[in-house]
Symmetry: C2
C-alpha cells in the first residue's frame, strides 16, 4: 500500500457532507480501487458547529479556506464552496500556488475563470478537475474528455438544469401555469437563492460552456452564449408543442460551424419520442454526437448530495490513481479562442402570437414572414373565447437573422397583442 491521498475540503454544505460520508463509509473500497487510502486531513466551512450528521472530529479545522488550501498535510484541495469569485477562487489559486491538485464542483468559477485557473494549474504541474460541475452524478466530463477522445464532436447538447425541467414537466403533467410550477419548485427548495440562475438558464449555460471547451478544444467563453430562460413559456406552448409531437426543454447546444462556435441555451422543441423528449422531472441528460461514435446519451441525477459527491469522488479517485488529464482535455495554453458564431445554425421555428381579431391580421403576419425570407410549414389559428386570436406557426428551416428580422417588423403591422414567442425546433 502506498501513501494515502490526503484531502482538504472547503465547503461543508450538501456536497461536502456527501463527500465526507463516502470517504468514511467506503474507505476499504476506495483503498482497494485506488491502491492507496484516501484520507481527509482538514476541513473548512462557514460554521464549525452546525450539525451535519457526520463526525468531523478526526479532521483539522480551518476557518479560512485559503489556509486550508495551503496546509502542508494536504495533497488535494477539494473546493465545494461555490461562487464565481471570492473565497472559492482565492483558495483555488492559493492551492495551486502551494502545489496542490484541485477538484471543484464550481461551474460558475470555471465558466468565468476556467482558462486562467487551468493555465495556472498546468503551469504548476497540477491538475484541476471538475466532474461534479456539470450534470451532477453523470460522468460526462470523463466521457467527453476521455471516453470519446477519438471523435471529432459534431454537437453536444444537454438538459442540465433539473429545476427548469421540473417546472416544465409539472406544467405539462399537472396543468400548472409557469408561476404555479415556479412556486412549487421554490417551496421544495429546488431554486437557487437567485432564481434567475435556474430559470434564466445561467446555471445550465455555465455547464454548457465547459462542455464546449472540451468538445472543441476552445477557450471557455461564457459571454458568447446565446441565453434565453424559460419564463416566457406558457402551458399553451407546451400543449401546442405536444399536439405536434414535441416537448419543450431548456436545451443547451454547442456545435462548431463554418461561422464559428455556436453556443445556445434556450427553450427548444425536441421530438417527444427522443431520449431528450422523454426526460421528465429533475433528471439531467447530455447527448454527445461524434463523427465516429454517432450519438451517445448519458442520463442521471443532476444534483443532490449523493450524485454530486459521486462525481467529486470520481476526480479524487483519478488523482489517487495517478490519472492526470488537463482541465479541458488538452493543455490550456493550446486551447484556441474560437470566434463565436454570429448566428445560430438554421432551424425550423415554432412561433406563437396573439393577433387582434380583425380581417387580414393573419395575412399581414404571413406577409412579414415572407418579406423576411421565411417560408411557412404550418399556420393555424385556434378557437378563441376572447377578443384575440391565438396563432401558431411552424416555419421551414430558416436562419436566425431572418427570424429576428421578422420579429422586429411584426409590431409595425399593428395586429399583434403582446410579444410573440419564438422557439427553435432542435432535430435530435
Amino acid at each position: 500500500m502506498t501513501d494515502p491521498l490526503r484531502l482538504g475540503i472547503a465547503g461543508l454544505g450538501t456536497v461536502g457532507t456527501g463527500v465526507i460520508k463516502i470517504v468514511q463509509r467506503q474507505a476499504n473500497m476506495l483503498s482497494a480501487r485506488c491502491s492507496r487510502p484516501i484520507e481527509i486531513a482538514a476541513v473548512s466551512a462557514r460554521s464549525r458547529d452546525k450539525d451535519r450528521g457526520i463526525s468531523l472530529s478526526n479532521y483539522a479545522w480551518e476557518d479560512d479556506p485559503v489556509k486550508l488550501a495551503t496546509r502542508d498535510d494536504i495533497d488535494l484541495f477539494v473546493e465545494l464552496m461555490g461562487g464565481e469569485d471570492g473565497p472559492a477562487k482565492a483558495a483555488t489559486e492559493a492551492a495551486i500556488g502551494a502545489g496542490k491538485d484541485v477538484v471543484t464542483a464550481n461551474k460558475a468559477m470555471l465558466a468565468i475563470h476556467g482558462q486562467a485557473l487551468a493555465e495556472a494549474a498546468e503551469g504548476a504541474g497540477r491538475v484541476l478537475r471538475f466532474e461534479a460541475a456539470v450534470a451532477g452524478g453523470i460522468p460526462v466530463i470523463k466521457a467527453l474528455t476521455e471516453g470519446l477522445a477519438g471523435n471529432a464532436i459534431d454537437r453536444v447538447m444537454g438538459v442540465m438544469n433539473g429545476t427548469c425541467n421540473y417546472i416544465l414537466t409539472r406544467m405539462e403533467n399537472a396543468g400548472l401555469t409557469y408561476d404555479e410550477a415556479f412556486a412549487e419548485a421554490d417551496g421544495l427548495g429546488y431554486l437557487e437563492a437567485d432564481p434567475n440562475l435556474d430559470v434564466g438558464g445561467i446555471d445550465a449555460a455555465h455547464k454548457l460552456t465547459l462542455l464546449a471547451a472540451i468538445a472543441y478544444g476552445t477557450r471557455v467563453d461564457f459571454g458568447a452564449i446565446a441565453l434565453e430562460g424559460i419564463g416566457a413559456i406558457t402551458i399553451e406552448d407546451i400543449r401546442r408543442a405536444g399536439d405536434m409531437g414535441y416537448k419543450i426543454k431548456l436545451l443547451g447546444v454547442a456545435q462548431m460551424t463554418g461561422r464559428g462556435l455556436e453556443q445556445r441555451m434556450s427553450p427548444c422543441l425536441v421530438p417527444a419520442a427522443s431520449p431528450l423528449g422523454q426526460l421528465e422531472g429533475g433528471t439531467n441528460m447530455v447527448v454527445i454526437e461524434g463523427d465516429s461514435v454517432g450519438q451517445v446519451v448519458l442520463r442521471g441525477a443532476g444534483a443532490g448530495e449523493g450524485p454530486t459527491a459521486s462525481a467529486v469522488m470520481a476526480d479524487v479517485c483519478d488523482i489517487a490513481r495517478g490519472l492526470r488529464v488537463p482541465t479541458f482535455g488538452m493543455p490550456a495554453t493550446a486551447l484556441e479562442a474560437a470566434p463565436p458564431a454570429s448566428a445560430a445554425s438554421p432551424a425550423r421555428y415554432y412561433l406563437r402570437m396573439e393577433l387582434t381579431d380583425k380581417p387580414g391580421a393573419l395575412a399581414k403576419v404571413a406577409t412579414v414572414l415572407g418579406e423576411a425570407g421565411i417560408s411557412i410549414d404550418r399556420m393555424r389559428q385556434y378557437d378563441h373565447p376572447g377578443d384575440n386570436a391565438p396563432v401558431l406557426i411552424v416555419t421551414h428551416k430558416t436562419a436566425r437573422p431572418n427570424l429576428d428580422d421578422a420579429l422586429a417588423r411584426l409590431p409595425a403591422t399593428g395586429v399583434l397583442e403582446g410579444a410573440p414567442v419564438a422557439l427553435r425546433i432542435e432535430d435530435v
Copy 2:
C-alpha cells in the same frame, strides 16, 4: 511534442479498418488531445490484398499476429481479431511478454481468459484495456471503472446485444414471428456466424461478466451466468407484456446479494416507460446503479465500424496520455472469487402457458403454484379459437427455486400443452 505512440494492429475487419480511418483522418486532433502523435507502425490480417478502402502502404505488414505483437517498433498492440483462443490469445500473451500494452475488443477472450491475461499484463507492468468489448461506442468501461469509482455498485444492467433487440423490436412493431424477424436480421447481416452467440445470449453474457468483475471487484466468472436466449419468445408474449405496460428485452443483470454474485442474461419484462423499455432497434443501453449516484443510464450504438473504433481509440488515447488503470479497476491479484448466487433474487414473474380446454384445468395450475409457495397477482384466460386455452399469469414476488419447483410439477397435472414460458419482471 513527445515521442509518438506506435500501434501494431492485428485484425483488419470492420473495427480494425475503422481504427485506421480515425488515426489517419484525425491525426492532428489526436496529437493535440494526447500531447503526442499516435502512429500506426505495423498491421496484420488474414488477407493482405483485400480492398478495405484505406491505404496500408505506410505500415509494415506481418502475416503472423504474434510476430506483429512483439515487433520492436510498436508500443501498443491492438487486438481486433476476435475469438476466445487461437491467434488472438497467443498474440495478446506474446505482446505482454514483449512488454507491450494491449487494447482489445475481444469480449469472448476476456470473458474466459480475462483473469489470467490481466494478471500477466499487470505482472509485466503493462495495461490491458477493453472499452470496445462492451456495448460498442458507449464509454461504459470507463464510466464504471473511473467515473463511478466512488460508488458501491448496487446493480448493473444492460441491453447489450443489438441483434436481439432488433429482433424483439421488429416482432413488436411489424408483427413478425420470431422466425421471420430472425430471418430478416440474418438477411441484413446482423447475426454472428454462429447465431446462438446472439440469440442464445452468449455474446451479451460475455459483456455482462466483464461489467460484473469491475462493479464488484470479482474474478470474471462467465460460467456462473444464468443464461437464457430469446428463442422461446413469441409475438403473443410481446403483446401480453405490452398490454400490462411492459416490454420484453434480453437483459443482463449483475448484482451482489447476500448469497453471492448474481449474474443473469435472460429475456425480462421491463416497464415500457423506463429508459430500457423505450430502447428500440439495435441500440445498446447500460444502466448502472450506485449507492451514491443513484441510477445512471448510458445509451449508444453497440456495434459497427465507427462506434467500436471510437471505443478502441478511447483506450489508445488513455495509454497515449499515460492514463493507466488495471484491467478490472483494481489489481487483478486483488480480485476476489465471488461465490455465484445459488438462485436469482426474488422477483415477480410472467408465465404464459397453453391449457387443454377442460373444466378444472386452471384450478390445477393454480393449485400447483400455491403448493410451490407462489401467490398469484393476476391470472387471465384469453379467448381462443382452437382447442387450447392460452393463460397468462403474473405472480407476486417469488424466489426462483419456488418457480422452478412449480414449473417442474406442472406437466404432471396433464392439462398443459407444450412448455410454459416464464419471464422475470425486472424492476428498473
